[in-house]
Symmetry: C2
Amino acid sequence: MSDLDLSSSAISLPDTPAAPVAGTGGSAQATARDAVRALRSSQIREVANAGFGVADVLPFWFGESDRVTPAFIREAATGALARGETFYTHNLGIAPLREALARYVSDLHGATPIESVAVTSAGVNALMLAAQLVVGAGDRVVAVTPLWPNLVEIPKILGASVETVALGYGERGWTLDLEGLLKALTPDTKLLMINSPNNPTGWVMTRDEQRAVLAHCRRHGIWIVADEVYERLYYGAAGERTAPSFLDLASRDERLICVNSFSKAWLMTGWRLGWMVAPRALMDDLGKLVEYNTSCAPSFVQQAGVVAVEQGEAFTRSLVADLRVSRDHLAAALAGLPGVDVKVPHGAMYLFFKLEGAQQSLDLCKALVREAGLGLAPGSAFGSRGEGFVRWCYACDPARLDAGVERLSRYLASR
Amino acid sequence: MSDLDLSSSAISLPDTPAAPVAGTGGSAQATARDAVRALRSSQIREVANAGFGVADVLPFWFGESDRVTPAFIREAATGALARGETFYTHNLGIAPLREALARYVSDLHGATPIESVAVTSAGVNALMLAAQLVVGAGDRVVAVTPLWPNLVEIPKILGASVETVALGYGERGWTLDLEGLLKALTPDTKLLMINSPNNPTGWVMTRDEQRAVLAHCRRHGIWIVADEVYERLYYGAAGERTAPSFLDLASRDERLICVNSFSKAWLMTGWRLGWMVAPRALMDDLGKLVEYNTSCAPSFVQQAGVVAVEQGEAFTRSLVADLRVSRDHLAAALAGLPGVDVKVPHGAMYLFFKLEGAQQSLDLCKALVREAGLGLAPGSAFGSRGEGFVRWCYACDPARLDAGVERLSRYLASR
C-alpha cells in the first residue's frame, strides 16, 4: 500500500575490496532478470526526487494520513513487547487475531469462520500471496485501471500476463464499462484483480456490478482477488459502514480471495499488517506460502491488530467522518480553480482530478513540486488511463489542504 | 526462519451464508495451482500435531531460542512507537539502519557501501526477494542438502526447478563433496542457493570451498544466494567473530546476494527483520520487488534493528558463548546414550544426530512426542538426505537439555 519511496540519494562509496578469487566478476552483467527489470518503478518517487533540495514542499502524493496511529493501538504493541512476546507465531496468524478478524468480517459481511481468515505481513503481502496461490507463468490476468500499480505488476513477477480494462470518465465521474470487463474476462482467464473503493480514482463498484462479475467468473472458473483495503473509507448513506464487498455475495469457499489491511481504517501504514479471507481449501497451501515469504507477521504487531479490531470501531467511524469533511473541503476549493475538473467520489481518500495541461502529468507534477512546492501524484503513475489527471490525498486537516490549494492556484495563475 | 507452525486445531464453524448469485460456486475446484500444492509442508508441524493433547512436552523442534529478545532492543521499538514512528518507510529501509548495517558488514567482511545493503521483512523474505530477482519459470537452481526446506521450495514458487547435492556424513561429521557440487553447477544453472552455517546440520563451509565455488560460478555466470543467517553462531578459534562468508571473497558488485537476519544473533525471531547485501546494479529492481512484496519492514521494528546492530555486540558474544556451552553439554550427554551417533559441528544451534531406529524419522519423532513428551524435528523434514537423523535445537539452558536427554534415554531403554 506504500507509494512512499523516497531515494536515500547520493551517498559516497568506500572502495570495495579487490576480489582475491580467480575469474571475472562480470559486474556489468549482474542485473536482475528481464521480467523484473520491466516492472514499473514509482513515478511518485520520480516526482519526489525532482523536488529534492526544494526546502518547502507540501506533500499530498502518498497514500497515507499525516496522523500517527492511535495511542491505544501503539500501547497494545508496547504491552506485548514488555510481556516478552517476541517469538515466531503460527504462519496464518495468532489465534486471537484470526478470531477477532473472523468476528469483524462476519459482522460486516456475513458469517465467516476463523478458518477462512489468515493474517499477512501487510495488505500488499496478501496480494502477493493471493497471486502466488493461483497464478503462474503464462497465466492470463485482468485488472481494471486506473489502478495502484501493485495489482498490475505483482502477477508479472510470477510470469503471468496482465490485460487492463479502463474505467470510463464523464459527468458521473469514474464508471465501470461492465460489458467491456465481462468481454475481457475470457474463459481462459485465470484471475481478475479488482480494487474497490479504488486507488487512485475513489471509484466504488456497485452491488449489481459485483453480482454480474461474480456470476460471470463462476461460470468460467475465474478467480477474483478483491483488494478491499479502502472498504471502510466509504461515504455512503448514513449508517452504511462499508462499501459493497464481494464477501456480501459470495460463499466463503468459492474462487474469491478478499484482501484487506490495517493501514487505512486504523492508520497503521507503517505496521505492515493485513489479512485475507480465502477458501478453507486454500489454507494449508497458504500456510506454506506464508512460511516461504515472511513466515509470519511480528507477534507484537499482531497483538496491536487484535486491539485495533476489537476496540477501534469508534475511532474508525470518527476517522471516516473527518475524511468526508476533508474530501468535501478540498473538492469545493479545487472546483473554484480554472482548468480543474473534479468529481467527488464515494470512496478511498483521494481526489483524482483532471487538470488542464496535465496531458503529461509526470512533467506537470515535477514542475509543481519544483516551482510551487506542491507534491501531487501524476495520473500516469496509475497506468495510461490515468494520464491527464493528478491524485491528491486529502487525509489531513482542511487548513493544510487550503495551503496546498493556494499553491496550486498561484501556479495555475502564473503559467 | 520459522519452522514453528502449530495448527490452531479444530474450531467449530458457523454456517456460511447461502450465495445469492447465479452460477455454481464450484468450491470443490477452489484449490491452489499445482506448483503450490506440490510444495512441501512442514514435517515439524506434523510432529507437533501428533503431540496435540500431550500435556507435558519439552519442545526442541523449533529453530528458536527460548529466551526473550533483550530488553534494550525491545525498548528501542517502544520508544519509536511512543515518538509516533508509524509511517511507511523507504522500500530499502530507513537510512540509519542501512548505515548501521553497512558499518557492521564492513567491520566483519570488508568495505560495504550503504547502497549495497537493503532491509527486508525477515531473512526468509530476503531469500524470496533474492529468488524473485534472478530466477523465473524454467530456470535451474542447485541447493546443498540436508537443508532448511525454504531454500529448496522458494524457487519452485517462481517456476524454477531445483536440483539438490547431498553433503557427506562420516567420522568428521558433515562434509561437502566439492567435486560433486561443481559438477552439478552446469553452465546452464542460474542460481546456487547455499546455507552455511547450515540448518540443520551445523556444517560450516570452509574458506577454500567458498573460493572454489565462487571461481566456478564466476566462470559460468551463476548467481550465488548465500544464506548466512547463522554466521555469528560460529564456534571457531578464540577471537573469530563469524563463520567464513562469501562476502570475504567477493566484490560487492558481482553475482552474489548474501542474506542475513536479526533472528539468531539478537534473538529477534518474532520481529521478522532481515537484510541482504547485493550488487548496487540490483537495488532499483529490488526496491520495486520490496514494494510489491511487503513495501517495507515496520518502521519501529527497523529502529529496534538499529539499536541491535549498534549496541548489541556484547550481547551477541555472550549469547554465542552460552550456546557453545549448551552445544557441548548436549553433545556429551547424547554421546552417552546407546544407538546415538553425534558429531559436534562448528556452527548454528542444532545437533543433527544419527539415531538407531530413526530410518523413518517422522514416525520416530511422532512416537517420541506422544510416548516420551520429547519434541525433536525429524531429519526427513530437511530432505531425503536427512533421513535417519533427528534435529535438536540446543538454544536453551543446560538443565532443560538434561530433562530432554533423560526423556530420550528412558524412551530408548523402553523400546
